[in-house]
Symmetry: C2
Subunit: 326 residues, 2 copies
C-alpha cells in the first residue's frame, strides 16, 4: 500500500504498538450474577462467585453492570457508595479489593452506583492482584433511550456521565508496560454503542475490551451480540461482556447472554440468561495472527479520515510523559 494513503495518520495521535504482556494465555471468568435488592447479600454472593471463578483457574474476573443494587433510578442514590472514601463507605469495592488480593487475581468489578460529592455515577473499578485500585471508569455515555411501548430509560435523571476513557495496564510492575492479563479498555453497557470509544482503546494498545452491561429484552436480542462482535472484528481484539442474570421481579429485566468474543469477531463463549459463571480462555497471540491475516491498520486511509483521541492528543501536547504511551 503506497505511503500516500498515510495509514498511520488514521489515528491521531498515531496508534501505539500493541504491548506484549508476560501472560498471553489465561482464563477469564464472566460472572453472570443474580442481583437482589439486598446489598449485603449481593456482596457476599459476588464474593462467592469470584472465589469459585478463581478456583476454576480464572486469572481475570469480570462482574456485571450494577451488581450490588437493582438497576433503577430510584435505587441508584440509595445503593451508591463513596468509592474514593473507601472502607466502610464502600463495602462493595472493599470486598473486590480483598478478593483480588486474597485470590491473587485481577478483577474488573462490573459497576456500582458511585457517590462523589453531590453527584452519582455508574462506575467500574479494576483491582490488580495486589488488591490495589488500578482504574475507575465512570460510564461515559448515559443510557437515555425511548422506544415507546418497549423500553424507556433515562439514566441522566440521576446519574452524571464520566469524563474519561479508561484503559488499564493490569500489572503491578510499573517498569513492565503491560503485565499480567494485558491492557484492558473499559466501557459500561451503553458505552458499547459508540464505536469511537472502542477505536480509541484499540489505538491505545488494548488487547481486551471489557463491557459490564445490562441490555434489555428489546435491545438485547437486536444488538447485544452484534455490538460485541463488531467492536471485536473492526478493532481486531478481544471483547468480554458481563450482564446480570435475568431477575424474576418487576424491575428492569436484563437480557443476560454474557459473552467472550475473539479478534475475528467469533463468539468464543456465551450463555443464556440464568445465573452462571462462564470460564473461557483468552489467547492474545490470536490478535497478532488476525492483524497479519487482515492488516487493517496498514490499510486505513489516513489521507481521507482521522479519528482523534482528544485526551491523548492533549496529553502529548502538554508533554505529560506518563500518559504518552496511552
Amino acid at each position: 500500500m503506497a505511503s500516500t494513503y498515510k495509514p498511520e495518520q488514521a489515528r491521531v495521535p498515531p496508534a501505539v504498538q500493541l504491548p506484549v504482556p508476560p501472560v498471553t494465555k489465561f482464563k477469564i471468568a464472566l460472572c453472570q450474577l443474580s442481583v437482589t435488592d439486598d446489598k449485603e447479600r449481593n456482596i457476599v454472593h459476588a464474593r462467592k462467585a469470584i472465589e469459585e471463578a478463581a478456583e476454576k483457574g480464572a486469572q481475570l474476573v469480570l462482574l456485571p453492570e450494577i451488581w450490588n443494587s437493582p438497576y433503577s433510578n430510584d435505587s441508584f442514590p440509595v445503593y451508591a457508595e463513596d468509592i474514593d472514601a473507601g472502607g466502610d463507605a464502600s463495602p462493595s469495592t472493599a470486598m473486590l479489593s480483598e478478593a483480588a488480593r486474597t485470590l491473587q487475581i485481577t478483577i474488573v468489578g462490573g459497576s456500582i452506583p458511585e457517590r462523589s460529592g453531590d453527584r452519582l455515577y455508574n462506575t467500574c473499578c479494576v483491582f490488580g492482584k495486589d488488591g490495589k485500585l488500578k482504574a475507575k471508569h465512570r460510564k461515559i455515555h448515559l443510557f437515555d433511550i425511548d422506544i415507546p411501548g418497549k423500553i424507556t430509560f433515562v439514566e441522566s435523571k440521576t446519574l452524571t456521565a464520566g469524563e474519561n476513557p479508561t484503559i488499564v495496564d493490569t500489572g503491578n510492575d510499573s517498569k513492565v508496560a503491560c503485565a499480567d492479563v494485558g491492557r484492558i479498555g473499559i466501557g459500561i453497557c451503553y458505552d458499547i454503542r459508540f464505536q469511537e470509544l472502542a477505536m480509541i482503546y484499540a489505538a491505545r494498545g488494548a488487547h481486551l475490551l471489557c463491557y459490564p452491561g445490562a441490555f434489555n429484552m428489546t435491545t438485547g436480542p437486536l444488538h447485544w451480540e452484534l455490538l460485541q462482535r463488531s467492536r471485536a472484528a473492526d478493532n481486531q481484539l478481544y471483547v468480554a461482556t458481563c450482564s446480570p442474570a435475568r431477575g424474576s421481579g418487576a424491575g428492569y429485566i436484563a437480557w443476560g447472554h454474557s459473552t467472550l468474543v475473539g479478534p475475528f469477531g467469533e463468539v468464543l463463549a456465551t450463555t443464556e440468561h440464568e445465573e452462571t459463571i462462564i470460564i473461557a480462555e483468552i489467547d492474545y497471540s490470536q490478535i497478532e495472527l488476525r492483524r497479519t491475516n487482515l492488516p487493517l491498520q496498514n490499510q486505513r486511509r489516513g489521507d481521507l479520515y482521522q479519528l482523534v483521541d482528544l485526551q491523548r492528543l492533549n496529553s502529548q501536547i502538554n508533554g505529560n510523559a506518563e500518559n504518552n504511551s496511552l
Copy 2:
C-alpha cells in the same frame, strides 16, 4: 445531555442534517447475478435482470462487484473499460446508462474493472433515471489479505485505490438537495471493513450505503452479515449489499448472500448463493424513528473523540460552496 459533551463536535465538520427526499418509500432490487468469462453475455444478462427488477417495481437497482468479468487479477486488465471515454470503449456502462434512461430507474452499477491511462481501478458507476452518470466510485481500500490455507488475494498487484469517498444525490433536479431515492454512500466490498467510511457517509447525510461486494467462503460466513448489520446499526441508516452468485468454476468463489439491512441493524431481506433478484422495500422514515429511539447523534462525546472527514473539511476551508453540504 449537557452541552459540555459537545456531541456536534464528534464529527468534523459537523454532521449535516439528514436531507428529506421526495420519495421516502420505494423498492430496491439486489441483482445477485451469475458471472461468466463471456463479457458480452454478462452485459446482456445484467440488462435482462435490470429490466426484470424494474418490471417488479424497483426504483433503485444494485448490481454486484465485478459483474462483467471474472474476479481475478488476470482478468481485470483484459476486461477493463475506459469509462471516461464511454461509448464503444465502455459497453458495460453504456448499457447501464441506456437501461436507467429507458426504464426510468436509478442504477448503482455494481463494479467493473476500469482502465484510466495506465491504471486500473475497481469502479462503481451510478446512473440516474435520466441515464446520466451521477457518480463514479473507485474502491478506496484494496483487498489485500492473507489467511494461509483459506484465502489469499492481493488486488493491489493490478489495481490502484481510489482517492475519494463517494456520496451521490440521485435526483435530477439540482435545486432539490436530495431527490428520488435518497442520498447514497458507495463502497466496494473491502471498503465495508473500514467503519470510518460509513461514519463519514452518515455525517454527510446518507440514507443508504450501497456495497457491491464479493466476499469469499472464509470471510463471508465470518463477517459479511456482521459488517453490514453493524454499519447500519452504528450509523442508523440502510445498508444494501450485492454479491455475484456463486460460480461453479475454479476461480474465486463468491459467498453470495446479498442483503438489505434496516437502520436498527435488522436484516430485511437476504438470500443464499444462487442467482436471484431480491426485491425489498426501503422506508426512509424508519431512519428518523430509530434516531429518535436511540439519539446517538446527540449523545456522542465530541469532547473526547472526533472523526475528521478530511476532504469535506478541506472543501469548507477552501470555500468550495458546491461541496459544502457534502
